[in-house]
Structures are given as C-alpha cells and as structure tokens.
C-alpha cells in the first residue's frame, strides 16, 4: 500500500536537550521536569515510561508546544520548536474527536484545515486508512456511537493522515479493557511499521512499552529526569508471541528493576497511587518467574 508523506521516514529527528519546567508560585514553586534530554530517532518508536504522576503528560505538553519550557531546547530536524505546529501531532489521553462531526469529518479535519487538496482526494485517503483499522463502515457515525476502542483507532487515523514529522501518543490506550487494549496495540504497531513516522509513545505499562518500543526512555520520579535509555532490539514486525521470548523477559526484568527504585523513591516522598500502580506491575513479573 502506497502512502503519502513517506518521505517523513527520513526526517523527523527530534532532539530534546536538557529541558526543565516548574509549576506554582513563590514558595510553592516545584520543579516537575529537570534537565531532561533524549532524542527521537527518525522513523523509530520511542516509548517514555515512568511512575504515574512523574510528569509524562507535562513533557508531551512541552514537546507539543502547549506549554513553554523554562530552560533547554527542543528541535526537529535541526529547527527549534516554538508553539504548537502541524509538524507534531498529539493523540490525547482522553478522546478528542469532535463529538459534533462524523468520523469522516473528524478524520479529514486536518487536511481540510490546511487546504490545497480537493475533498474527494482527502476522503479517499481517509477511507483507506479507516478501512485499515476496521472502521470503513462507520464513516458516517458520530463519535458517541462508537466504542472506546473504535474512538482510539479513529484518533490514530486522524493524526496519521496528516503525515506529521512526529506523532506523540499520551497514554492513548489508558482506560480500555485488556482485550481492546491488546487489539489497539496490534493496530497501532502495524500502522507504525507501515508508515514509519517518528513516534513518541507515553505509557505507564511496562509490557506495552517493551512490546512497542525501539527505544525505551525510563523517567525518574519528580522532578522527572531521564533515568535510563534502553534500546529494545526485538525484531519487527512485532508479534504477541514475542511476549514470552527470553529477550523480552530480560528487557522487562531490567526495566522493572529501575522502575522499582523510582517507585520506592516516590514512596518515600509519600505519593501512594504511583506506588500502588508500580507494585502491581512488579508483583506480576515476580509471580510469572
């Protein structure tokens, strides 16, 4: 299948160089992100993982340009990033499909806004993408008529159709049930492997992270810093059968050890939720062994 904007595979290198961010005023001011540096390699899938509440969404907001960085720099293909722009697209945690537009209107929103192409062409592209994620028959439905998983898939398509240089996914599958989530991961990884757009995927689920990633960036607890960068050298296309391979389990064990330390730090600062989240994930792998 020929797709438009495949030229992006060669570009879309995003360099994040020691960025920081604080919130609050006066004595309440708190550093949320501190000297955070990592690189999104062109055409690769980078997964950002860290304990809940460590500031992952803040990083997305900074990279997307919704909020301003205090120090450091962000650049795409050598050009500094300022404010929100069409070269970076975000798929949000909650569904952001416009409820007042049909699926087709939602998906074609970006190309229509930018103009320059006729609507039949745009709709043709949109339909072929929708069919790929099994939504071809739902083009004239409104978002509320779709299930959560369908909405997430539609959102993937709405971002992808714009052929951005970088796609950023902020815990996009959160809140879906386990089976839908697995299905979504499969749709997502296939779309990624086909289009090879630079991707940043934020999650707090270790299994999802390793299954998807070329590179795993593990964040520390607050203030968030890059704790470790792990290269995940599992072969592509990824298959769920890999979840039982020796390499996979080794990656998972290594990653969890680091995350465990971070969770303990979070525990000592007294944030209960992230510890609970983490311990659940950790005990799982202990049991499996």
């Amino acid at each position: 299948m020929e797709t438009k904007g495949n030229g992006n595979a060669a570009s879309g290198r995003m360099v994040i160089d020691s960025i920081s961010k604080s919130y609050g005023m006066g004595p309440l001011r708190q550093k949320v992100i501190q000297d955070c540096s990592f690189t999104l390699e062109p055409g690769k899938l980078t997964v950002l993982i860290g304990p809940s509440g460590c500031g992952k969404t803040t990083i997305i907001n900074l990279l997307a340009g919704y909020e301003e960085i205090e120090t450091g720099s962000i650049s795409i293909d050598g050009k500094p990033v300022k404010g929100p722009g069409g070269d970076r697209l975000v798929v949000f945690q909650e569904t952001a499909l416009f409820p007042w537009m049909t699926l087709m209107q939602n998906v074609t929103f970006g190309p229509r806004m930018r103009g320059g192409r006729n609507s039949r062409e745009i709709e043709g592209d949109a339909l072929s993408l929708l069919q790929k994620v099994g939504l071809g028959d739902f083009r004239d439905k409104y978002p509320t008529q779709l299930s959560g998983g369908m909405q997430r898939r539609a959102e993937l398509v709405r971002a992808l159709i714009n052929s951005p240089r970088v796609m950023m996914m902020d815990e996009p599958f959160r809140g879906l049930d386990a089976m839908t989530r697995e299905l979504m991961q499969e749709y997502y990884i296939r779309l990624f492997e086909e289009h090879r757009i630079t991707n940043l995927f934020v999650t707090s689920e270790i299994e999802e992270a390793i299954f998807l990633a070329d590179r795993l960036v593990i964040m520390s607890y607050r203030p968030a810093q890059v704790r470790t960068v792990m290269e995940i050298n599992l072969p592509r296309p990824r298959e769920f059968s890999m979840l039982t391979s020796k390499e996979y389990l080794q990656y998972k064990k290594d990653a969890l050890e680091i995350l465990h330390e971070e969770a303990m730090k979070a525990f000592s600062t007294g944030t209960a939720t992230c510890v609970a989240d983490f311990l659940e994930a950790y005990s799982e792998i202990e049991e499996k062994k």
Binding site: L89, T144, S147
Partner: protein, 292 residues
Amino acid sequence: MQIPSAKPKGDAVLAEITNFEAMAFRLKQWIKSPRPYLMVAGLLLFLAVWYMTTELFKLPRFEKLPGPVAVIREWLSEDPSYGISIYVSEYYLHIIKSMMRVFEAFGLATLLGVPLGLFMGWKKVFRDYTFPIDETLRPIPMLAWVPLAILMWPAREAAIVYLTFLAAFFATTLNTLLGVESIDEVYFRAARCLGSKPRHIFFRVVVPGALPYIFTGLQISMGVAWFSLVAGEMLAGEYGLGYLIWNSFVMVQYPIIVIAMVTLGFIGWASSAAIRFVGALLMKWKVREVSP
C-alpha cells in the same frame, strides 16, 4: 497486512430496520405501557376536582371562579356570551398579536444574545469587559424595568417588546457563554494541533460545541419571554392574551380569563417544542442510537 478485521456482524440487520418500523414499534410499546392511561387519568382527575369545587359543590372562595363546563361551553360556542370563542376572529387577533411580539423580542434576543455570548466565551478580554454588567442587570426582575421601559420608548408597543426582549436576551447570552465555557480544552488543542486558524476554531469548535447550551438557553428564553410579555400586556397593552386576561378580570368576564390562560399554556408548550425540534435537527450528533 495482518490487521484483524472488525466487521460488525449486526450492521446488516440494523440497516433493515427502517425508521418507520422503529417508530411503529415504539408507539405500540407506549400503548402497551401504563403511561398513556395514567396521563389521561391525571387530566380527568384534575378536571373533576375543578368541576366539583367550582360548579358542583360551589365551595366558599371557589364559587366565583369559572368552572370547566362554563369555560368549555364559552370557548366552543358559535355565539359566545362574553365575545371570545374559537369562532370569533378577535380571539385570533389577540393570539397573533402576542405571538408577533414574542417572535420579535425572541428573534432579536437570539440574534444579539447568541453572538454576544459566543464572543464573551471565546475572547476572555471581551468577557471581562461585559460580564460584570451582564451579571448585575440579569437578576433584576422584568417588572422592575416597566417604568424605565415606558419612559424610554415613545409607544406602548415598543415598551412591551422591549421588556420581553430584555428577559430573553439575558437568558440567551448567559447560556451561550456557559456553553462556550463548557467546551473541553482538549478540543481547542486538537483543532490547533490539526492546523486550524482562529476563525476555523470559532466556527468549527466554539459554535457547535456551545450549541447544546445555546438551545437550553433558547428554551429558557422563550419561557421568560412569554412571562414578561403577559406582564407587559397586562400593564400597557391594547391587544394580546395578557391584555385579554386583565381586561376580562376588570370587565367581570371570568370564563375568558381561563380561556386565555389555557391558550397561553398551549402556545408556550408549542413554542418550546419547536425549539427542541430545531435543536434536534442541528444536533444530530447528540442523538445516541444503538451503536452497531
């Protein structure tokens, strides 16, 4: 491509159920349910109590009130003793006069109130300018405006429409503003991120996003418009249902009061229904149907 297909199996079946069949089915279910019978029973009970208190037993304090028999007889009479019935053109003149006034006032309030509310919600600076004034003027009861309205406008007609307009205008503006504020920030972000210019955001996010609240506002606005209209007509009218009620009281033509009241009830209900109908047409996306 190894993407698993998610073809809906029930889709074909659903497509075969036409709208008409679905409606017929719903009607059948409704007739089978106790609801229509309870509605009729409630209405009959109300009429019975009214009849017994006013016409059958003529209870003290009730004996002067017109009973249902007198009202209905007068209403349907070809030769009404007090001059108002469904066969008399003057009855319709009052109705049309009142409807025209409400239509003018409501239309003006919508034309001015909706854009104003949208701008207030969209541009924070504009909101900061106007909101305190709006919030101070809004709670003032419409009756308090009567003297100023009479001083301001040379003709009684204009004064009545003005009073009706004011009430409707505040309700529409406030609800439109709330409507814009109810739109989740994520839609603005998504729109910007997908390359929208400000005017796109206004027409494709602000306007449709605020629409549910706008229509709630229009329904409230229609209600308060009728309220103010009747008050205005009682004080300063020459025609209209409010005038008819007050004049019949003064002239001791009591059955007409009730005829005019019930007429107001029906017209008010119909105008609300009309707004709901237009709203449903414009907001098809609000309709939740069975997802296939």
